[in-house]
Amino acid sequence: MSVLLRTIKVLGLMFISTELFAASQMDLRPGVTEISQDVYDLHTLILWICVVIGAGVFGVMFISMFKHRKSKGAVAANFHDNTTVEVLWTIVPFLILIGMAVPAAKTLIKMEAPADDAEVTIKITGYQWKWNYDYMHDGFSYFSSLATSQDEINNKAPKNKNYLLDVDNPMVIPVGTKVRFLITSADVIHAWWAPDFAVKKDAIPGYINEAWTLVPKVGTYRGQCAELCGKDHGFMPVVVEVKSKEDYAAWIAAKKSEAAEAAAGDSKVWAMDELMAKGEQVYAQCIACHGAAGEGVPAAGFPALKGSAIATGPVAAHIDIVVNGSKVNPAMAAYGAQLSDADLAAVITYERNAWGNNTGDAVQPADVKAARK
């Protein structure tokens, strides 16, 4: 019953008042950049041209359906050709199209202008199913993956306001600065999309695509991967935090020292409980395929780790498959390219000791380093 009422409400609102319907957006977002505003204006222009033409054509049709009914005594006329009319309705639409093409081409040329004058360059790499942001001139990079919990997705916990649009580490860019994105992929094709900037570009393995933006307003902007990229395509959001120039500089400095710390972690010897604690955090990246309790998704070809031959067998083989990827199953990527030695050592240790695997093996960063090819 409540569903029915709700539907009626939704339908009613749709036709009566779009103002009241602010919760659900109906139109394209104007976004925040000059380009996104241009795109929005272009969209609005063409939408209205279509609405006017549609009203004209359907209007004539409805008049005819109303007036020229047999039941009202209408007798069919006999015309079936008229060269003038036919030439006219070929040429007029053509002219309207030219009217649309000119502003469209202008906006396109503006969008596709090379971004050689950009002050910040970020390399975006798509992975199944997360983004890597590489601040090329500042010497650090990090992954950005979904922060929404599995409990929210599986309806075991209430859904947060930014459900599915929240990440652990957002991209950070400075306000009022031209930023260039170099977009590529490490596995399948993804598409990086920030609707409020009107930037959508495919991330393609073997290609480096270019896009740019200049955001005039501080804030957090959310989008999603737009190109089907496998099982968790719906779960790799794009979040961009636009900070003031000072905040941005502070953030860069903090990130740099964090990177230095991580490098130090790679060269020390870790205790078992440290490895397990860190490993559990890192394992968040593995849950999508191997499950929170190592149960995997066998039906979809993702093996369980709990009690598996690899996680309880020889350590070297386990390190090899995590660091260098599976030779038979491309879904198991080479995580050597994505994680630090310490992270890898921790997650392998965790997999070998969690869920009753209890091998007692502690893998050290040095072991991982040795296994890197």
Partner: protein, 521 residues
Amino acid sequence: MSDDHHDHKPTGIGRWLFSTNHKDIGTMYLWFSFIMLFIGGGMAMIIRAELYQPGMQLIDPDFFNQMTTLHGLIMVFGVIMPAFVGFANWMVPMMIGAPDMALPRMNNMSFWLLPFAFGTLLSTLFMEGSAPNFGWTFYAPLSTTYGPPSTDYFIFGVHLMGISSIMGSINVIVTILNMRAPGMTLMKMPIFVWTWLITAFLLIAVMPVLAGVVTMMLTDRNFGTSFFEAAGGGDPVMFQHVFWFFGHPEVYIMILPSFGIISQIIPTFARKKLFGYSSMVYATASIAILSFIVWAHHMYTVGMPLAGELFFMLATMLIAVPTGVKVFNWVTTMWRGSLTFETPMLFAVAFVILFTIGGFSGLMMSITPVDFQYHDTYFIVAHFHYVLVTGALFAIFAGAYYWLPKWTGNMYNETLGKWHFWISVVSVNVLFFPMHFLGLAGMPRRIPDYALQFSDYNQMASIGGFVFGGIQLLFLYIVIKCIKGGEKASDQVWEGAEGLEFEQLPSPAPFHSFDTPPQVK
């Protein structure tokens, strides 16, 4: 000659297995398409049920991807195309005064490949790993390096469908060009025949391209080639170019025969000749030719050079001109006619309006800079469902109601037909119209779960979807009831119907018609 000789039919299962009769083969095509409509539609119901509210409720994301993939493949290759081939089989020989299709044994084979093709495709659902889960567009490398083992069965199925389509279209072309009754010049052919002739040429041109691209996938997957594998020097974007070089003409393959059906129906119920017959023919041909130079508008975001984006934008916009001509012609045909609104006409009128809405969103998407925002969102999903469901599928409904009396000799139940129409037309808009809003607001397509602000319209779409899906059972009932009996149809069936099939053949049309060709003035 006595009628019973005319109507001598083989009996038993052999009548269907070994059939060389265009009417029987047409019937099999149409039933095949109908069965596939319920299978593909069932998958759509699963998709809409999962999307009814945010969160994962019924299925897992990988199965969701299998559903969207198979739903698309089945609807395109298993429903729309076979239905049109079924119409062509039944109607083309009767409309041009031929006794049968020109190549009846090939006709049999092109039908009987289909159950095997789709049997192969559907069998992947029961295979270890996963059924194809990379979308009906099967972009590499998701479908090659990362595809499940069942992908090879999918490739084999696509090859079978391609062979079937190519043989079917050769048959249509040969029949139309060689077997027209004396006096029926090309420019006297019914528009449905014209649109199918052009469609058949498109099929012959592009099905081999599809076969080529899946073969490249096959060798990439199994024989160590790297056509689409960047690490081996290949190019994943080339896959998209080759696929859409097939794919764009393919979408016109699915709509041109609809234009033909609608152009037969509107004049009948307006009791007035089709306005601008020759411009209709030229417009159809222009659309077909343009379809070969617009493919990359499906892939504006791959990072093409500016010149490429501009070219494909302008070429795509041009398609609006001949399409507009067609719509104007239909409206002008109705203008000052003597209109009645039996079920076929209702579906035809809905086709003109709703297909045009799909055309408008298509025009919006042709504009490259704006398409960057629309691309891969629900706006696209709304667009192609408007042209394929309220376009192609509505034309199929219209054609079925229009010709069923000629095929069976019985009128369908008009009251039920109208119920079918009205419930369909309302629910289909509740289903697909909100998808425009979802896409504009930023919901990507092919996602099994979505952010909270998309909840209302998804729920609405799902409710529309369940009603639209359910009401098609009524259509099934109407068709079966019509085959079993009902008010007898006259030979002309409809007051305003013209053409050889209505003027010179009884209802139901005899098993063998036009053993001696009629004279066309």
